[in-house]
């Protein structure tokens, strides 16, 4: 066991006792934030995506000690800003999901994408989402939803 690690999660200072614990397990276990999805635990499916200082990362292969002192944003904070709220609304408008398991990681990824690029092309969105797997085949709707959100944000139809 290594030393304790401190970092910010959704704006709150948090501590995890064992810095070798993967960030995913620390979030879901120690910190009881279970909206971040446990998928493959090998960094391949994107379900566990969180933002670290605004950058999308797969939390399952990120040791907690690697994010010491940094700012983590999880799906629980999606509604804290306009981009996140617009995305969630767009996903519901498009009914972009079936089982819904992959959606949380995709929403977090899309939030980072739209924060950096207000008008991504469909191909750009798809390329960013290639790190995310969806088994039910909701890809088409998910792409539509992100395009819709980008459009609404650029037109100022935000909440």
């Amino acid at each position: 066991m290594t030393e304790a690690v401190e970092f910010n999660v959704n704006g709150v200072r948090r501590q995890v006792d064992d810095g070798t614990t993967p960030l995913l397990l620390a979030l879901r276990g120690d910190l009881e934030l279970r909206g971040t999805r446990h998928g493959c635990a090998t960094g391949n499916c994107g379900a566990c995506t969180v933002l670290v200082d605004g950058q999308a990362m797969t939390s399952c292969i990120t040791p907690t000690e690697a994010v010491s002192g940094r700012n983590i944003e999880t799906i629980e904070a999606l509604g804290d800003d306009t981009i996140g709220r617009t995305l969630l609304r767009s996903f519901m408008t498009e009914q972009a999901g079936q089982c819904g398991y992959c959606v949380a990681g995709i929403l977090v990824e899309a939030k980072a994408l739209l924060a950096n690029n207000g008008a991504p092309s469909r191909a750009e969105i798809a390329a960013v989402l290639d790190g995310h797997l969806c088994r039910c085949g909701s890809h088409h709707r998910i792409l539509n939803a992100i395009e819709r959100a980008a459009g609404e944000l650029s037109e100022g139809q935000t909440s």
Binding site: G39, L129, D130
Partner: protein
């Protein structure tokens, strides 16, 4: 919805009260054993009940897949939830409405015909009577057979049916902790099991002392060849099980199996005749033949299988599971633990990530129950690893489908034969009084493993599903041969044999159309007496602008089927581009599922099954190494990515006067077939060995 044909679920649970409960004021509880796997079934069932009762869908709560609190129904399979449970719910709602309004009529001294319901409140001749279904339900006996009182609304009187009501569960799943994987029970601990490499191997050595020394805070469980750990945290359970897997030794199998496709090719099991019409041997004309092969395929659910088990009181077991067969799982666990399944085992369904038949959900439940037995009263959660989920879940069977056709001088098919070979397509828990879970056979003492049997034709068939063509052909012979004795476990995966059978059948249709110099669309229509079938084929062709682009390296291809020859009709046209691999540009679907309960939900299912079938067709194959499954992660089981999915257009043929038909599987077979047919039109070669990877295309070109 037809009011005459029986719903097996309603026959087994005839009373209104089995399906609906009005005891909470202002709320209605709808009960079903069918479960949500992402297909939107709970939303559609609420829509049906709400429409029939004239109560807002917002007032509904759903109990789904709870073996103690809901009706006893078959599992969620075969696209039957709308056809069977939808019908039961409609009748139960209609009968409840009648019983409640009859009581209102008595109380109000009014004719029942003058009464209506507005969001649960009874109106007399359009005026609020102040009676509600909830006050009435306190005295009305709803323990009465629904069929005696049911008289469902005319289609024209329905308000919610045919509207795209949003999913009742999706927002919670998108952005909060709604899955079984997220559940925490009081005092819950975390378990994992070292999954045996195959059912042929036994544990020969395990250094428990070394594991205990390294993990003093972990409870170690052993039963026969099953080794497991229970820990306070998930992180600790994972570390302990990874260490344990290095401290076990497995026996070598005496005779590991050979290549499955070779074994199926040489299979001499007696054929089971499925269809035998006319005399195929007497037909004369030009002969065509094709042998299609399909590898093992995986559910490849995004979340690994999970379960939480607790042993309570006097030998009672409670299991929270994302099983698709809650009652079957209770039966199977009863067999394993010597309990009366329905009485002593309670299974409570909570949703997981999408599964498409029988994946590892039930096996994870057994693992959790085995571990929890070591710590009575303590809930033990088991979450498999990604590798466990690929290697310990049952798979979709590999198949060999051989088909022959005869084309007469007038360009009509005079004879068609199909033989489908595979392992069985359903080995669900509890079947026939057996546990039917791999690890049950590795306990001490081991539980018996039954000889697996395929799904019978009356239940839609397994290997033979959709092997019988819907086309009007005078002489048809369809048979299947089942490889029962084979150590790699297979079970139900979306569409069962329909996927490979339709690929083969529709490929032969195109080959014969080409040889006859006919358009594949017209050729199909000319061989159909079923107008609904012909309609979707023509509609999909029109949507796609058939015959499509005169662009080098691009083509359209078509595939069609009526799922199980009795459910929804689907015609799919795909537009592909071939460079060094197959690229899907567009997909067009025309679907006739009778009365469309929720059009957007149906479109979502069709879009999803097009993408999933495209992924199977272009990419997916489980690798087998002797008796072991070598596939262990997304690196070696790639599925279709966001940048690879086609643009999709779906059109529904709404027929509100006809019974609603399930749509979860209808597009699977036609999509694979359409891709195969499009590739042939570009390449001039028939690709018969799935999946159609870059290597497979190169091999076909070089052959």
């Amino acid at each position: 919805m037809s009011t005459t044909a029986a719903s097996p679920s309603l026959t087994d649970n005839p009373l209104c009260s089995a399906w609906l409960d009005f005891s909470a004021d202002g709320r209605v509880t709808l009960k079903t054993a069918k479960v949500e796997i992402g297909q939107g079934i709970l939303t559609a069932l609420v829509q049906i009940a709400a429409d029939e009762l004239d109560i807002s869908p917002d007032r509904f709560d759903v109990i789904s897949g709870h073996t103690r609190l809901g009706p006893v129904e078959a599992g969620t399979s075969s696209s039957l939830s709308i056809e069977v449970t939808g019908k039961a719910v409609r009748h139960a709602a209609s009968a409840s409405r009648k019983l409640l309004l009859d009581e209102a009529a008595t109380l109000l001294q009014a004719e029942t015909s003058t009464l209506s319901i507005v969001d649960g409140t009874v109106y007399v001749s359009g005026r609020d009577s102040s009676l509600t279904v909830w006050t009435l339900a306190r005295t009305v006996n709803l323990n009465q057979p629904a069929m005696e009182f049911s008289s469902p609304k005319n289609p024209s009187a329905r308000r919610l049916i045919g509207t795209s009501m949003a999913r009742i569960d999706l927002q919670a799943k998108a952005a909060s902790s709604a899955f079984i994987q997220d559940r925490v029970e009081d005092g819950m601990r975390h378990g994992r099991v070292v999954q045996p490499p195959s059912g042929l191997r036994r544990l020969t050595a395990f250094d428990a002392d070394a594991l205990a020394a390294q993990f003093p805070d972990v409870t170690i469980v052993r039963d026969g060849s099953i080794i497991g750990v229970i820990a306070a945290t998930e992180a600790l359970a994972i570390r302990a099980i990874e260490a344990a897997s290095q401290l076990v030794t497995w026996s070598e199998p005496e005779s590991p199996p050979q290549d499955i496709l070779g074994a199926l090719g040489e299979l001499d099991a007696p054929p089971e005749i499925v269809t035998d019409t006319g005399d195929v041997s007497a037909a004369s004309g030009t002969k065509f033949s094709l042998t299609v092969t399909k590898p093992y395929t995986a559910h490849a659910s995004i979340a690994p299988s999970c379960a939480i088990a607790t042993w309570t009181g006097e030998n009672k077991l409670q299991v929270i599971s994302h099983t698709q067969s809650p009652h079957g799982l209770a039966d199977g666990l009863g067999v394993v633990f010597g309990l009366d399944g329905p009485r002593d085992v309670t299974v409570i369904h909570k949703p997981g990530a999408g599964t498409f038949g029988h994946s590892g959900q039930d096996d994870a439940a057994l693992d959790a129950a085995l571990l929890a037995k070591a710590v009575p009263g303590v809930p033990v959660r088991v979450l498999w690893s990604r590798a466990d989920d690929f290697q310990a879940s049952p798979m979709g069977p590999a198949m060999v489908v051989h088909t022959e056709g005869t084309l007469d001088d007038n360009g009509r098919i005079s004879a068609l034969t199909i033989e489908s070979r595979s392992q069985p397509h359903a080995r669900r828990p509890g079947r026939g009084g057996f546990a039917e879970m791999t690890n049950a056979a590795l306990l001490d003492p081991p539980l018996p493993v039954p000889v697996p049997v395929d799904v019978p034709p009356l239940r839609g068939g397994g290997a033979d599903r959709n092997a019988t063509p819907l086309y009007a052909i005078e002489n048809v012979h369809v048979q299947k041969r089942i490889l029962a004795d084979w150590p790699v476990r297979t079970s139900a995966l979306r569409g069962l044999g329909a996927y490979a059978n339709i690929y083969a059948l529709e490929a032969l249709m195109d080959d014969m159309a080409d040889a006859a110099g006919q358009c594949p669309v017209a050729f199909r229509v000319a061989h159909l007496n079923d107008k609904r079938a012909a309609h979707v084929i023509e509609q999909a062709a029109e949507m796609a602008g058939w015959p499509g682009p005169a662009v080098d390296g691009e083509a359209l291809g078509i595939g069609f089927s009526q799922y199980k020859n009795k459910s929804a009709y689907s015609a799919i046209v795909v537009h592909v581009r071939l460079d060094d691999e197959v690229r899907l540009l567009n997909a067009y679907a025309a679907v006739d599922c009778g009365e469309a309960i929720n059009p957007d939900g149906i479109r979502n299912q069709i879009e999803g099954s097009i993408i999933q079938a495209a992924s199977w067709t272009l990419k997916e194959a489980v690798n087998i190494d002797g008796d072991r499954i070598a596939t262990n992660g997304w690196d070696n089981y790639p599925i279709l990515k966001f940048s690879e999915v086609p643009s999709i257009k779906v059109e529904l043929v709404d027929r509100p006067e006809l019974p609603p038909l399930g749509v979860g599987e209808t597009a699977i077979g036609p999509t694979g077939a359409a891709i195969g047919n499009a590739v042939k039109r570009v390449l001039g070669l028939r690709l018969a060995h799935l999946p159609l990877t870059r290597d497979a295309i190169q091999a076909a070109i070089n052959a």
